[in-house]
């Protein structure tokens, strides 16, 4: 019996994904564990592997299809000496109509009708292709959206069970920002790039954050000369090991200011635990674990993999963990549990020479730290002009959760750790 290939349930809140690519063609052989298909979720690309060796018998939902619901049948894998004739869709294609059993992908059809038609034209396939497109919107909302070039996919319905109503479309039309661009597709200077799932989620979450969270900002400069000295010393003394890939001897670690900041922030959160909280409509959620999200820029957009329990980890393990997470993120291969959650985000644009910036909070977290570049600047010390390396830290905080004084206390603890790293030992 052919094996059903279904849209996997990647995480609990994942209900539909985009089929990014089929890695093998129909008729091609695969070994157990070979990648069959790549699924793009809101934050990553997940690869679905073959459960057993076989031949890809049929692709029901082609690459490039968006919003395919979890558990939808997307293809069949033939095992043993099964052929295309063993596919359930093929078995019934000689019958007048597709039966419900076939729509459910149940291959145990009792039909023994001989089959000659190619599976690509069976009614089963056509029906299956249409299923994932279901979107709940009132007829009037659909028509007004259509008339005004509003993409219903980008809207959040406020009707029962998220049904999109006329008011939602009109709201989107009045807020203009996303739709004006869509309404003017023929402007010669602009080209259309369809939103990826990641881009849509980023857009939605940022708007939600800025609209719903009362942000306030605290900013200070830290002298990082002694921190830089410490990191230099640690890195210089890093033991070397053989890189099996290159055959070269390489240092086992190279600690960066960012690695240090993850540790320092986690330690500061231990001292000011209010920062490690989330607002909910009914209660304040205080988190026990200190999990730090690190913003990583990828081609597809921003993603924030997490260093869990960062307060309990040493600098070297934090460093290697961040390196691995960033690499996985850039390949689009992060697992949902690697980026969902976290109690605090660090976003560092220092490598671009940015002096300072204010970041948008990553809900449900209450704070995000924006880190600028370390630059030599004149400072006044004991009435004398001197040169120091200054780095700006700007904290964006959710005022519902963190009051000004609490945020300031957190930032001053953090500054102490950054300016005299020895305090981390205490």
């Amino acid at each position: 019996m052919p094996i059903e290939i279904k849209m996997p349930a990647i995480s609990p809140d994942f209900d539909a994904g985009n089929i990014s690519s089929w890695d093998i063609a129909v008729g091609e052989k695969v070994a157990k564990g070979d990648v069959l298909v790549a699924i793009e979720t809101d934050k990553a690309v997940i690869e679905v592997e073959a459960e057993s060796a076989g031949t890809l018998g049929q692709i029901l939902i082609p690459a490039g299809t968006d919003d395919v619901p979890v558990h939808s049948l997307i293809g069949y894998l033939l095992i043993g000496n099964e052929t295309i004739a063993d596919l359930p869709s093929a078995k019934v294609s000689g019958q007048a109509a597709a039966t419900p059993a076939v729509l459910n992908g149940n291959p145990q059809s009792s039909s023994t009708a001989l089959v000659t038609s190619a599976p690509a034209t069976t009614p089963t396939q056509q029906l299956s292709e249409k299923q994932p497109q279901r979107l709940f919107a009132s007829p009037l909302a659909r028509r007004i959206a259509d008339q005004n070039q509003v993409d219903l996919q980008t809207l959040n319905g406020r009707g029962p069970r998220g049904r999109i109503l006329r008011a939602d479309v009109e709201h989107a039309m009045s807020s203009k920002v996303p739709n004006v661009a869509l309404a003017l597709p023929s402007t010669p200077q602009s080209s259309q790039v369809k939103h990826s799932q990641i881009r849509k989620v980023i857009a939605q979450r940022l708007v939600e954050s800025k609209q719903n969270i009362p942000h306030f900002y605290l900013s200070l400069d830290c002298e990082i000369d002694s921190l830089k000295g410490m990191l230099k010393e640690l890195n210089a003394n890093a033991p070397a090991s053989l890189n099996s890939m290159t055959g070269n001897k390489e240092a086992t670690y190279k600690l960066t200011i960012n690695d240090f900041l993850v540790k320092a922030v986690a330690k500061a959160m231990e001292q000011v635990p209010q920062v490690n909280s989330s607002w909910s409509d009914t209660a304040m959620l205080h988190h026990e674990d200190i999990d730090i999200s690190v913003a990583v820029s990828t081609d597809a957009g921003l993603i924030t993999p997490i260093v869990f329990k960062a307060n309990t980890k040493g600098l070297v393990s934090i460093s290697s963990e961040i390196r691995q997470l960033a690499a996985t993120a850039r390949k689009g291969q992060l697992q949902a549990h690697q980026y969902q959650g976290g109690g605090f985000t660090i976003s560092n644009l220092g490598m671009y020479g940015i002096d300072n910036f204010s970041a948008i909070i990553n809900p449900p977290q209450a704070c995000i730290l924006a880190v600028g570049a370390g630059k030599q600047k004149p400072v006044v010390k004991d009435g004398q002009l001197a040169v120091a390396t200054l780095m700006n830290l700007t904290l964006s905080a959710d005022h519902r959760v963190v009051d000004g004084a609490v945020g300031a206390q957190f930032l001053s603890v953090l500054k102490r750790f950054v300016e005299s790293p020895a305090h981390l030992m205490l």
Partner: protein, 472 residues
Amino acid sequence: MKSFDLVVVGGGPGGYVAAIRGAQLGMSVAVVEADELGGVCLNWGCIPTKALLKSAELIDKIKQADKYGITVNDYNFDLSKMVQRSRQVADNLNKGIGHLLKKNKISIIYGAAKLLGGGKLAITSATGSKSAEAKELQAKHIIIATGATPRAIPGLEPDGKFIWSARDAMTPKHMPKSLLVMGAGAIGMEFASFYNSLGVKVTVVEALNHVLPVEDEEISNFAAKAFTKRGIAIKLDTRVLKVERHKGGLKVHLNSGNSPADAHDELEVECMISAVGVLGNTHSLGLENTAIELENSFIKVDQWQATHEANVYAIGDVAGAPCLAHKASHEGMICVEKINGIDHVHPLNKDLIPGCTYGSPQVASVGLTENKALAAGHTLKVGRFPLSASGMAIASGDTEGLIKTVFDADTGELLGAHLIGADVTELIQGFVVAKNMETTEQELMDTVFAHPSISEAMHESVLDAYSRAIHI
């Protein structure tokens, strides 16, 4: 002092529904009722008048029996039995409300409530009803659902004999020979229709230039013709100047807007009914102890029924027009759900409240009239289908009627539906559901209507709006 999560003042269709919804959501609830559960609607309005109109409908049918091949040699009716049946119906339903409240573990407290501020209420025994069970209550939330009372015009105060209130009109002691109905709104026209069917000489005077003035003009005109054909005299643009009482009845002085200011008519009638609007029941509620504000006797509320006083809400007639039982009930549910933070509670869209007038013929509508839709700037597509072209209506012998639909030409939104004819008060709900679901003409056209049925005329009216009607 007993305390509750929710105290509802008034056990009418707004109050008891709000109370039950509150109980369903786990609140401890009390209803304070000064008179009878079910309010005016159940005891002295919607329900008993429908019972009377059913009797009138039967008389009308008997009069037409010959048309259906039935010979009725003689028939008679007993007004007191009709009234008795009407009272029995009200009584049954009233008991039903009591059971529903008990089933939902809601305390029923008979008495008049007075707000003391800070969530406190004083209960005093209402005259002639059961003694108050509690002197003072404490409530986290208070919903005022005290309803409204017919507006009394100075000099025309009901005396129960010559000048009737609506209550007198539904419990007549005798059949008057002639009757003047002041006000051609839903209540006035229902009484006019009832007494006309019983053979009373009925005259309706209306200050505005249409009967059922809130309805679509085309439907109003259709109704005026239908009522006139049945023998009701209708005087539009006419006001009652004064009424002189004498032994045999009333001499009514009328002033018609069409004649010079000093010109006036006189009319001799035995009785008259005043049905010229209602006033909110807010007296002796203790509103002076709160921040609640009034507007034309009605309590000012926001879209969630909240008053200017924290944790005090008002629903139904006392919170303003339209004074309809189903509007009150819905406001009650919305209010209680909002208090409990239920997801997806939406403020009531008044364009989605159907309005029905019973009698013969019936009138029912939802949404914008053609004129209001034009005034709102819509470009329209209007469909009409006469019941005289409906197979089912012809088979039933009820061919007098019209189904009118009003669409926005650009979006296809169903802006309004206006119906007149037999039983259209049941048909209207199809359009109300459609409108609530935000359907366009396309879904209505794509809907399969059963044949034969009067509702096919709904389909045809929609098709007609797009010049696609089949049967006309």
